[in-house]
């Protein structure tokens, strides 16, 4: 038997594949490059008209599809959605992948399409990977509400934004100013140097602090890379480099809890203020032992609750997702849809010794 029998077969095969590829590609059109394509995408439900007085039908099938199952943050949001769906006599279900990868949500959306879900509430692992699946779900009659992490705007009806960047930035600066009397050196402990959210917030924090609290000086920003150990060490470094430091703001849940752990075991406990974005469960012991006075985060339960009411309003035809429409969201009151079909939940919730035990997430 010839030594390179397979080799020869394969070379033949590969040439065949190459030729086929060439034929296919030349047939496709003369070179498809970035930026020359993309006509206008469909503008959601632009054609429909809203009837603000429409009744929410009973037995709406509302499906909650988080980034992944068994994630405490989404479990709390799901509880909020379930409460809202209970109030409108709908049927709530939670489905989702066990790993948070870009494409893993697609088959769940397909299943929901097949089951004829009325409302899909989802937080996207990837802004584009689930788009075509959501398109199919919507053409099958489902209303799609994204929360926490949006898709491309044309792929959903409404996005519930947990808080505006301005709101997040101002709340943290206000909290810090309250704790240090509006004057003194403050440092920021962020996530990674290229974290989009954090960088946007930090820029707004600097602008807001400069205009509202001229005596507050933001001396530096350090990066803990959202790693507990590194954030811990960066905190230590900050306190050695800036002996007059009055406070640390950490706009990331990993950073703030690492910083709190360092402070609570150091001589700086109670002397250097710490605030930022954290979850009540992570921060409870540090609020109780006096290391931290107050910190902020949006309330994921409210986020899920509002998302569910928004989905119901869409399904009922009270809203279509167009700017300026208003609807009632149960306990949370009236909301208005902003530009690009975005609804803002509101100001972040501030957690302190008085209210922290009311929250479990």
């Amino acid at each position: 038997m010839s030594r390179s029998l397979l080799g020869r077969h394969l070379r033949g095969g590969l040439t065949g594949v190459a030729v086929a590829a060439l034929v296919l590609t030349t047939a496709a059109c003369g070179g498809t490059t970035r930026g020359e394509d993309e006509g206008s995408s469909s503008g959601g439900s632009a054609g429909a008209s809203a009837d603000p007085d429409a009744e929410i039908p009973a037995d709406l099938a509302v499906a909650f599809l988080p980034k992944q199952l068994n994630n405490p943050y989404f479990d709390v949001a799901a509880a909020g959605s379930e409460r809202a769906v209970g109030e409108i006599d709908g049927e709530f279900s939670q489905v989702g992948p066990s790993e948070a990868s870009a494409s893993s949500q697609v088959s769940y959306i397909n299943t929901l399409t097949q089951q004829g879900a009325d409302v899909i509430l989802t937080s996207a692992n990837d802004p584009n990977a689930i788009c075509s699946a959501l398109d199919q779900a919507r053409s099958g009659g489902a209303s799609v509400v994204t929360f926490d992490s949006d898709t491309a705007p044309e792929c959903r009806d409404v996005f519930i934004n947990q808080a505006t960047a301005d709101g997040i930035a101002q709340t943290q600066i206000d909290l810090m100013a309250e704790q240090i009397g509006g004057a003194g050196q403050v440092a920021i402990l962020s996530a990674t140097a290229n974290a989009t959210n954090q960088n946007a917030w930090i820029e707004l924090m600097q602008e807001y602090a400069a205009s509202e609290y001229p005596d507050m000086e933001i001396v530096t920003t350090v990066y803990g890379d959202d790693e507990d150990e590194k954030s811990f060490q960066e905190t230590q470094g900050l306190l050695q480099t800036y002996p007059d430091l009055k406070g640390i703001i950490s706009p990331t849940t990993v950073g703030i809890s690492a910083a709190a752990r360092y402070l609570s075991g150091s001589e700086y406990k109670g002397r250097v203020a710490l605030t930022g974005l954290g979850t009540p469960n992570q921060m409870r012991e540090f609020v109780q032992d006096g290391t931290v006075t107050a910190f902020a985060l949006w309330n994921p339960e409210d986020l899920g609750y509002l998302a569910a009411y928004t989905g119901a309003a869409l399904a009922a035809g009270q809203i279509t997702g167009a700017e300026g429409e208003t609807f009632e969201a149960g306990d949370l009151g009236e909301y208005e849809i902003g530009a690009d079909g975005v609804v803002v939940l509101g100001e972040p919730t501030v957690f302190n010794a008085e209210n922290i035990d009311d929250f479990d997430f």
Partner: protein, 344 residues
Amino acid sequence: MTVETAPAPAPSGGAAPAGGAPARRGRTLPSGSVITTFLVLFLVIAAVSVEGFASTRNAGFLLLDVVVIALIALPLTLVVVTGEIDLSVASTVGLSSAVMGKLWFAGLPLEAIIPLVLVLGAVLGAVNGVLVTRLGLPSLAVTIGTLALYRGLAFVVLGDQAVADFPRAWTTWAISSIGSTGIPVVVVPLVVLVLVTGVVLHATPVGRSLYAMGNSEDAARFSGIDVGRTKLWLFVVTGVVSALGGVYWTLRYGSARADNATGLELQVIAAILLGGVSIFGGSGGLLGVIAGALLLGSVRNALQLVNVPSDVLNIVTGVLLITAVVAPQVAARVKGRRRRRPAS
């Protein structure tokens, strides 16, 4: 045509080693027919008892989920038949996707990117092949290494960015179906590749030489087969096909990311083992592998439709796989005992 032919002995003119290579480990059943029967049974039961399962739309969803798994399973089945393994396939998908995104972002036309990505796949496969065949390292160790290496490189290329502005014409083609049948158009080229692979494996001297290698590498070498060269080429083809999978994955989800297809290698290998291919090499057929991929996909699809949570889904898949691997062993042992009894 029957894709399932029993592996013939090494095609050699009397150069076979003494003893005539007895039936070996794992060569118990041609379980392709067993798994195909299973698949048909399952489809019938699901169609009757699961609401929404038997519809053209659902068939389309199901097939789209299976396409990449089945595609990569084709060359990987040949690799496994020779007694080797390639665990780096999903990382090759990820790296191909990342490179595709990077090149698209840089302004290259897709018509140039796709051939480049396929060449990249060939190189990645060749690295595996050279390490295994020239340096004589075990493929399990080599490809665990490249699994990590290629995924790492994907993150070097694209970081945690996603490139998503691929032309709509291409991304909708990737999920479009043939008329109103619900069958995705990509199933057509896939079927062609299945037929080609089936013919190569079951009806050519090359295919027979792969079984010979899987049964006894020494025997194969003695009968004049260039084992190293053949295996090297198999790894190269696996790389190219995985890169093709990466291209399709990127278009299907409209998103090039470094973490695309993470963990997919396990689903591909699961389909192969479920299809009755022995992990030790030397036995199994392509029909079973395709049936295995379809069965895994159908089970997940049906269970999702009846709202079984994803954790339970993973458990079911695991149990199914263990059953598929253990059942032939048990059957073989029972058969062996029966055969021994009258003799003693």
